[in-house]
């Protein structure tokens, strides 16, 4: 190997594997040539000085970077924070089953609601005459005062066992059922959303 050729290779010598034939040739040349050996010492010294600036990053420093980044992400997108304080952990299988149940109930509700609105026309509403005006006073012992339907009938005193008074509850289409079902739909939708957000 010539001196000029060797000196051109000094700069990249450290990147070549030690078993590489080129590097071996270079090392042999340095061992025999005093001029190249002196020049190579400068290169080596320079490399040592460059490596002297090397720093080791501690685990603590790098962990602080990690925390900073995650805090920043979560502060800018708070909805990404996962609720770790939940008292029960829902497994994937349970979540799927729950979702299926909720969806099935929702479907049931939708179908029955659709049926109620669109299909159920069997019983036309019965016209009932409104009961208003002045009602005559009932007198005990005179059973034929109000023989009409819809009014109280006072049983005859000599009729034996008195039938219990049965009070029928109204209205016939209870609004609170609708309110309850609307609430349960909302709850079901909310539960589905929460289940969807839980980490897989």
């Amino acid at each position: 190997m010539k001196c000029c050729e060797a000196q051109e290779s000094f700069g990249l010598m450290w990147d070549v594997p030690s078993e590489d034939p080129k590097r071996r040739m270079l090392e042999q040349h340095i061992a025999t040539c005093t001029e190249c050996s002196a020049e190579f010492e400068f290169w080596e010294e320079s490399q040592c000085l460059i490596h002297g600036l090397s720093v080791d990053v501690t685990e603590l420093q790098s962990e602080s970077v990690n925390r900073q980044v995650m805090d920043r992400i979560y502060s800018e997108s708070p909805w990404l924070i996962q609720d770790k304080s939940q008292p029960f952990a829902v497994s994937g299988a349970t979540r799927r089953k729950l979702s299926l149940w909720i969806t099935a109930c929702l479907m049931l509700f939708c179908i029955s609601f659709f049926y109620l609105v669109m299909m159920d026309r069997s019983d036309p509403p019965i016209d009932t005459a409104p009961m208003n005006g002045i009602l005559p006073t009932g007198v005990a012992g005179i059973p034929n005062v109000f023989p009409q339907d819809g009014n109280y009938i006072i049983p005859a005193l000599n009729s034996g066992i008195i039938e219990p008074l049965v009070v029928t509850m109204g209205p016939t289409h209870p609004i609170y059922w609708m309110v309850l079902s609307t609430l349960s739909v909302a709850l079901a939708l909310y539960s589905l959303r929460r289940l969807g957000r839980i980490r897989r």
């Binding site: 320079s46 000085l49 460059i50 600036l53 420093q61 990690n66």
Partner: protein, 197 residues
């Protein structure tokens, strides 16, 4: 789990996984940023710029294409751009060590003379690296401190492998040339020490 699988999960909303992904590279990237800034006496900002790098990477995760580069190469590229834009802001600010709050401290058993020599040496190398053109400096830092191979450096700097070789050769040669006066002084000191005995 590979980097690309993790990236896919993060994109799907599993943000907590980003912390795990960061842990794979945070030390390397922090060391790289630290070395890039060290030559300009700005190493105190290393942690901030490193976290800025990871934050930018998270924000641009949708633009990451595995076919173009590996995740680490992509991260190094973002880190380099972040550092360079910060250095551009402080282009003329060659802050002395005392001003940036760093005073190199030698171990107690080291003599004051040696401490001064050591600090002088550190400063000389720092200045020599800082005087390099930006690409040579990046290539040198990536090779010497981050131990990346030519191909990875080429991807980060968007250069060919042969260009990286050339950049490294010129960078090392330039540092050596700048440090030569120090070697001669060193040799002279040693020679004077020997003759005075």
């Amino acid at each position: 789990m590979t980097d690309s699988q993790m990236v896919r999960e993060i994109k799907e909303g599993n943000v907590e996984l980003y912390s795990v992904l960061m842990r794979r590279y945070q030390r390397k990237i922090l060391a790289f940023v630290y070395h890039m800034l060290k030559s300009s006496n700005m190493e105190l900002q290393a942690e901030d710029l490193c976290s800025e790098t990871f934050y930018k990477a998270y924000r641009s995760l949708n633009t990451f294409r595995e076919v173009d580069a590996s995740f680490s190469t992509w991260l190094y590229t973002i880190a380099r751009n972040t550092v360079l834009s910060e250095l551009r802001k402080h282009r003329n600010g060659n802050i002395p060590l005392e001003e940036c709050g760093i005073v190199p401290v030698a171990p107690l058993e080291v003599a004051p003379e040696q401490t001064i020599l050591r600090n002088e040496k550190v400063n000389l190398v720092r200045i020599a690296i800082n005087n390099l053109p930006e690409k040579q400096r990046s290539a040198l830092i990536l090779r010497e401190y981050d131990q990346l191979d030519y191909q990875e450096i080429a991807n980060i700097l968007e250069q060919s492998v042969s260009s990286v070789k050339s950049l490294l050769f010129r960078a090392r040669s330039s540092v050596k040339t700048q440090l030569e006066p120090y070697y001669y002084d060193h040799i002279n000191d040693e020679y004077e020490g020997m003759t005075s005995r």
